[in-house]
């Protein structure tokens, strides 16, 4: 991104014949550039610094206090007590376990499902564009709308789910989907899949379309079976996209809130609670802002450390590839 010689040499206003950078004009150019840079970046920096970065720092600070969030700045300094309490809190440990289960379910079921559908919709099937659009549609709806809709679907007497089981003669499987601690997490995962598989599918479709058909054809001509073509050609070429979609799913699960809040508020007896719900509960319902902040900080640390490691060890080659790929495209 270096500016050309013509650019460098020109003072901002004067119309002159371009010449190699001279000292005085170069300095003036530099000054106008500096003013432009500062003026143009300032609004973004102020907004971002004040409302995105400051809260992180503020949370780290208040997490060291016992504070109800009211009546002036926090004063009751308790060091890392909030954090020690956090890691012996059964509810919070449960949150971590729920996140792990949801991530595992996503990686094992939802993403392969999305991948299969994506590959299917790259075949010559009538109406595949319509199906792609349809499958992506739930992603556009807010989590609250999806949550309320499925609260009704899962409702014990009038809900669709139990009627469906009745229809196929499996009345015995009908249950209270959102009130049974043993089931609720899987109901939640069902809604997550409904809402998000289309998003992952679209990512995979885009990646699949970027693979030249010649490569697939070459594999077929060389005698590879469809499965071998998929396993040794398509899948490795989709690798970068799959790794990004896993990344997004993990980060999204760590921060899951709206859906849970609307569907179950984390219940019954914390069986579907997530870190964000626990944080919200302590911060806004029980007025333990210091403790809530500690949960925020831990959520941030988990996301951050995960992102760092994941990008360092899993996506490193992809990122390099992406950069060179972008250069090729231009």
């Amino acid at each position: 991104m270096t500016r050309s010689a013509v650019d460098e040499a020109k003072p901002a206003r004067a119309r002159e014949v371009p010449e190699p950078p001279a000292d005085s004009t170069g300095r003036r150019r530099f000054r106008t550039d500096l003013v432009t840079i500062v003026l143009f970046l300032l609004p973004a920096l102020v907004l971002f610094g004040l409302l995105v970065l400051a809260p992180i720092l503020l949370a780290s600070y208040t997490s060291l206090f016992k504070w109800n969030g009211l009546g002036g700045p926090p004063e009751d300094f308790i060091g890392l007590d909030n954090f020690t309490r956090l890691f012996s809190d059964k509810v919070f440990l449960g949150d971590l376990q729920h996140a792990a289960i949801l991530i595992a379910l996503t990686v094992v079921f939802q993403l392969p499902f999305a991948l299969a559908i994506a590959l299917l919709l790259c075949q010559r099937i009538r109406g595949r564009m319509a199906f792609r659009l349809l499958f992506f549609a739930p992603y556009v709806l807010s989590e609250v709308i999806a949550g309320v809709l499925f609260a009704m679907v899962f409702s014990p007497n009038r809900g669709l789910a139990n009627h469906l089981f009745g229809l196929v003669g499996l009345e015995d499987l009908a249950t209270n989907w959102l009130a049974d601690p043993a089931v609720v997490l899987y109901s939640l995962f069902f809604v997550i899949t409904w809402k998000y598989f289309g998003f992952h599918m679209i990512l995979y479709v885009a990646a699949r379309q970027a693979i030249p058909d010649e490569i697939i054809e070459a594999a077929t001509i060389d005698g590879a079976s469809p499965w071998e073509t998929f396993r040794y050609v398509t899948l490795p070429l989709l690798g970068p996209t799959i790794r990004i979609s896993i990344f997004l799913a993990v980060i999204g699960t760590i921060q899951l809130f709206d859906l849970v809040w609307v569907l179950t508020r984390g219940g019954p007896i914390h069986a579907s609670e997530t870190m964000a719900v626990t944080m919200f509960d302590f911060g806004f319902v029980r007025s333990q802002v210091g403790y809530g902040s500690a949960i925020s900080v831990v959520m941030f640390m988990i996301s951050f450390v995960f992102a760092l490691f994941y990008q360092r060890f899993v996506m490193r080659r992809d990122i390099e590839g992406a950069v060179t790929g972008m250069r090729d495209r231009r």
Partner: protein, 287 residues
């Protein structure tokens, strides 16, 4: 999305037909998985609760329009709709305006610390509301922005900056530097170049990030939930959630409200599908 032909086509025959039928069946089943809950909502809104218990799958008999008409005739639906619209437009204007200026600098100026600053913004990608909401609430209270639409607009714009800057920067970079040189030679100031040449040229990218910002704002729940105490200020997601708690026993009514609340988002999707799909996919993968 373009309909690119893909996959080698095998010669026809009964095997191919059988295979296609199976594939088609799979797609149809998945289609049902997506459509049935929504269809249940749409039809359920035309039933009463007795019908929902006794006649879950059939068409409403008789059709009951009062659920929908009651809501459409009530301020509890139109006011949040209006609030959501105003907040989404204000957020988008602010976010895209500020991000375009920053993206311009990041794309076309070289200065020390540029990459570091840019990285600071990209880190913000991993830092969503859920993590920041508590301290953000404390800050907004100090600034006196609670129960004020600005208390939602400003943070939403700030949190939208990373994605918007990343997408716009890569677009601005792709505009040939010859154009900038020509403009500068003709006496264009950096601002003149930005305003009269870069922004008009970047219209497709601006459309993408704008649609993205509108949808994000439209669907945001946590922030308006804590900022607004006054029901007259609620946005659609908050109103839907409250309606659900208030009428939790009246399934049909809640379904009607949810279905109506879906309409604006689905309408936007129908109109701006290309920007939306492209923006969401590229926004997600470029981070």
């Amino acid at each position: 999305m373009k309909a690119l032909p893909s996959g080698p086509v095998r010669p026809g025959g009964t095997r191919a037909v059988a295979r296609n039928t199976v594939l088609y069946l799979i797609v149809l089943v998945v289609g049902l998985f997506v459509v049935v809950p929504i269809g249940y909502g749409v039809l359920g809104g035309f039933k009463n609760n007795g019908q929902l218990s006794n006649n879950p799958f059939g068409l409403p008999d008789p059709w009951i329009f009062s659920n929908y008409t009651d809501i459409l005739g009530s301020v509890t639906f139109w006011r949040p709709l209006w609030n959501s619209t105003v907040i989404a437009l204000a957020t988008t204007l602010l976010c895209v305006g500020v991000a375009a200026m920053a993206g311009f600098i990041f794309a076309r100026f070289a200065f020390r610390g540029r990459e570091l600053l840019f990285m600071l913004f990209t880190v913000g990608l991993m830092f969503p509301f859920a993590v920041a909401i508590l301290p953000l609430f404390v800050l907004l209270r100090e600034f006196g922005l609670l129960n004020n639409p600005l208390g939602v607009v400003l943070p939403q714009a700030a949190f939208g900056l990373p994605v918007t800057i990343i997408i716009l920067r890569s677009f601005f970079r792709a505009i040939p530097s010859e154009i900038e040189e020509a403009a500068t030679m003709d006496g264009c100031t950096p601002f003149g170049f930005f305003w009269r040449i870069l922004l008009p040229m970047a219209r497709p990218a601006l459309a993408t990030v704008s649609v993205l910002a509108i949808v994000t704002s439209w669907n945001n729940f946590m922030l308006p939930l804590v900022v607004f105490n006054d029901p007259t200020q609620w946005t659609i997601p908050v109103a839907v959630s409250q309606f659900n708690s208030q009428y939790s026993q009246d399934t049909a009514k809640v379904l009607a409200y949810v279905v109506l609340a879906m309409v604006p988002a689905l309408a936007l999707y129908a109109v701006a599908e290309r920007q939306l799909v492209g923006g969401l996919a590229s926004g997600a993968t470029k981070g």
